[in-house]
Chain length 356, copies 4
């Protein structure tokens, strides 16, 4: 209800503030008897972590997951999986100057109004630090549905866009991880990195787009009417910090097409000629590739001097944000997008067992 | 779980197939003591109904809601509101030729695979006829949060686009209802209508975009982390038949912007200079206008001859779809978008009472 | 949330007031491909109906279910099952004299206080008429888990008690239905009926106990910790009108026993010597018989003159309740207990599929 | 779904095995701005803890709660409250001899069958150690609804029964805490303690009854039909380890009464003469005292030699359970009953805000 849980069957609930003691979560509804590699979880945490390259924030979060329950000898037992990461490299004094100021385009104002109290240190609960828990749970989910391939990558940074469709790319984890922006096209990757460096030097930030592709999805995932598979995927993506839009299959471009162009004709008993549907029809997966784009706004926290309102002085004031921040969240958001995808797909995979 | 319910507090559950006996629903969690006008519900049903103009399907659904419980002397009692509409103008024999064929880009294939049984008449449960129930519940929701103004309109049909932003338009129900496409700009409306007529004559269909604007939203709606207000709105919109994308505030265009351009500076204690955030920060409404775009694909059902796979003969066959269909769903989808918006906003309005 | 839904997977939501237009419900999450007999549903409705004998209320509800969706040619399709019964034999004027009076031990007072508005005719939503919907859904549930045998019977009326344990009785539907009190022991049944007739003639009412036995339950039903199988069964039973208590297995008598007497020793790989556990251990079914007792208070509505407070005159007044009522709800509650049992067992049966 | 969460609005999710690394939980939906005393939480933990007297297990769990998030300077922030207790005094080798044996009346058999894997050390997840988390969350709940008085006590141990009704006792925390069995009547308390010592010396265990009384409950708590207040309380109580029965108000004795005796007549606008209803009518609190009895079976773990089935050898074997256990759980269950009561009452208190 209060929004810290996701999932119907495979349920993740998270807790923790950016500069609090610890962050963590509980996974309830995990099937028993599945082998889980902690190494794989930490691999995903490393893809998300700060300080991984010179185009992300230099903060040093050495995040390694600690599993507290629900897994014995690397096998899930069916009981809830509790996990925790203690917060370490936090410099809370960096935030003293924003105690009474609402940072532009941050959650400072709305949290204060909603809860009448705000943890101003590092954004508190509204910080993207919370996504650490999503990545942990997502990695566990990935390991359960290991035959389903989930692959996200950066397809645009500002105006620099990868114009090839996903099925014209050589999509694999190696190709994506071999550059610091996580774009599978080396040339475009270079341009993106160059742009981010320029932006960074100006103390500014820039937005972009992540594309996610799911291959080998079983037919039948998704519950029609209100819980269509793409509606759940959309909600999960829109719940990621800084996301402003979601489109799947033909998306916004599809609105310009005619039905006779856009319809995916069945050419076999399980296969369509085109895939404008994006692998989902009537809210249910049809076995074709699922693909979607996610729009990320430029990070709100910038080094450049800004102005904002001080709720104590009731005046517009100069604001100089300290702390260490990302000029572009895209590369670090790639594993988050994959994690959220895995959570939704596994949840609907389990739900679909009810029809067998 | 099985997807026929929406809402946390104000919960709508619907039932019914396109060509079944009746469709209807139950609203649970409706506050007591609210005056409900049946006339207003029927007004919204009329906006959605078939046969309302020459650019929509000529089917004649004379839908008038019948309230069965939960309202006495036009006042809600706090008990569940049951409602029903019996299906009348249905011509089921039109569908005999598609019994064994999966219509392109329809839910025929996925329903058959998921449930092993399919009601092929009129699309059964996957038909947009189900949205009648959404419009009924949405109208009730609108009447409860009557101070919040929800206004949707058609902003693009195929390549014809209304380029003015919502705040440069004269947005009101009269202006939107005074043309059959429901676009508040008369000139553009004419062009859109002309395009749809051409498309219709070819037996084809066309997509488009609906924009929705919510004014006078209280500060504080939305539950952070997984249930951000825009994530719920996005899910609700993506659950509408034919929707392929959702973007709010600066949306996909915002990805091209720099933080210093995109940040919404507070210039007063409750007001920002710009509103790229689209009225939502950290997943919680900040009192500014909420606005978003919804992408609709071209209707899958077209009169033009197509090909598809027959699951009995195992062959690609010529397919000529009978029945009466929309060349463009946009005008009839406007009240559906508003209804889904009202359901989400009321639900989060009620949830927010818990913090008072 | 507002309490009109039961179930996790197989979800029943109901609507309707005693003297409103209709009562009905929606079942969401029903597996597809199951054969449903409407005749069997009506058989259960007949067991519950008024006027069935001279020890129940003479009201005449000729309830026959009308299925509106989700079932085609008697086979479930996996889409929501909508059903309805229009209210007929209602005499609303009988209730005019209680408009401003809170009937003793009824919900009149609490509904008025909670909702600020009350449908005083026939108890409105708080009337046991609502259980018609439970019986319908329960009969559908029974037909899905047809290998699991659910059998309830009256084991006490006032001080007249059936002292034999369930496993010393010849439990079957025939034996239970062959007398109007639904007690499988003929001698005791006679005594119970005699007592009820005396009570009825005095314009009074009497309580009693129903025992329910479930045989052939698969091992593994129930989710530990908060959703233990007996906790869900207990909640379901306590949700039935007039129920004051629930005990399973050794129940309240078990509190007097020593561990060495009470422990159920495994004498085979799937079987225990005794069954004080009542077929549930750690909240999960162990394959042995599940059995429990449910305490029903005497019906609050009696013909005898009573006194109560009039909220308008602010005075204690003589109260003479008109209308037609049951001197003892037990015989009509038997099918309701079975229905609620079926709903819980099927729900947990489906949930347990997630672990396969 | 998988049963490790309780609550609609104030939601507690717990994790942890008896002999795992840690146990803990997350509270989501806690109102912001409430002062929480950690000392009060630890006070309740001390009431529950092992080794508190010579009639409970001598294990030494020095449980002190560690709050990880959601509370700043002792004030709740509205974000999820994460908490943890690391397991310390565990002697896992005590359990090696039961690895392949299903202990009588324990969850060993059912967990093994359900999950195909079992954490046999200390009962794993099925251990009552899990209730530590309930006591923590319950204490937080108590502090939020501090005007509502919740008071539980031991009213029977084996055949020794406190025959006075709750309203004839001097009920307060001091009176209850001044003896190790937690019975407010000193004489009866002595007898109970004596009995438990005899039982303990025989290596056996004994059951009993806890009575719980809630005073000063606001009118209007409870959601009718399926979520009646007493149904939720019943479920919460039945979810506590070793509970076999629940009755409220007149309970099982009420079944013997006539309506004319049992009906609670309103003698004032907010007050009834008698209170057989137990403070709840139609599932909604009426402002009178709520009271109920909870039946606890004798602890399954006894020192006495027993027999049970070994799943490896397929033979009935002698079983000598090591470890340190309670001869009677009643005194330690008192704070658990209060905690579960507080969780339900707070949850329904918050839900009721939706009708204001």
């Amino acid at each position: 209800m209060a929004g810290n849980t996701i999932g119907n069957i495979f349920k993740l609930t998270t807790f923790g503030e950016s500069h609090g003691k610890a962050i963590g979560g509980i996974i309830d509804g995990c099937p028993s008897g599945v082998k889980i590699s902690i190494k794989k979880i930490n691999f995903e945490l490393n893809r998300r972590k700060t300080g991984q390259s010179n185009i992300v924030t230099p903060r040093k979060e050495k995040d390694k997951v600690e599993i507290l329950s629900g897994i014995i000898n690397n096998i899930t037992t069916g009981t809830p999986i509790g996990f925790i990461i203690y917060n370490k490299d936090k410099i809370s004094k960096d935030y003293n100057n924003i105690k009474n100021i609402y940072r532009p385009s941050h959650a400072d104002f709305t949290y204060t109004k909603k809860y009448k109290i705000r943890d101003y240190k590092g954004g508190g609960r509204s910080s993207a630090r919370e996504t650490v828990c999503r990545v942990i749970a997502g990695s566990i989910a990935k390991q359960i549905i290991k035959n389903i391939n989930i692959c996200a990558y950066v397809s645009a940074v500002g105006n620099i866009k990868l114009n090839k469709k996903y099925n014209k790319l050589n999509l694999n984890i190696k190709n994506i991880e071999n550059n610091i922006i996580r774009c599978p096209d080396k040339k475009i990757a270079k341009k993106m990195i160059k742009l981010i460096k320029i932006i960074k030097n100006k103390g500014d930030s820039i937005g972009g787009i992540i594309t996610c592709v799911i291959k080998n999805v079983p037919i039948g995932l998704g519950e029609p009417v209100f819980n269509k598979l793409h509606a759940e995927l959309g909600k999960a993506m829109l719940s990621i910090n800084a996301v402003k839009g979601f489109e799947y299959g033909s998306g916004f471009n599809g609105t310009k097409k005619k039905g006779s162009e856009h319809n995916d004709v069945f050419i076999d008993k399980n296969k369509t000629k085109t895939n404008y549907s994006g692998g989902i029809q009537g809210g249910i997966s049809n076995g074709m590739d699922i693909y979607y784009n996610i729009a990320f706004k430029p990070v709100s926290t910038i080094k450049k001097t800004q102005y904002s309102f001080n709720k104590n002085t009731n005046k517009l004031e100069k604001l100089k944000i300290k702390g260490r921040h990302d000029p572009c969240v895209l590369p670090r958001a790639v594993p988050i997008v994959e994690a959220m995808t895995a959570l939704v797909i596994l949840d609907y995979f389990l739900l679909n067992k009810l029809y067998k």
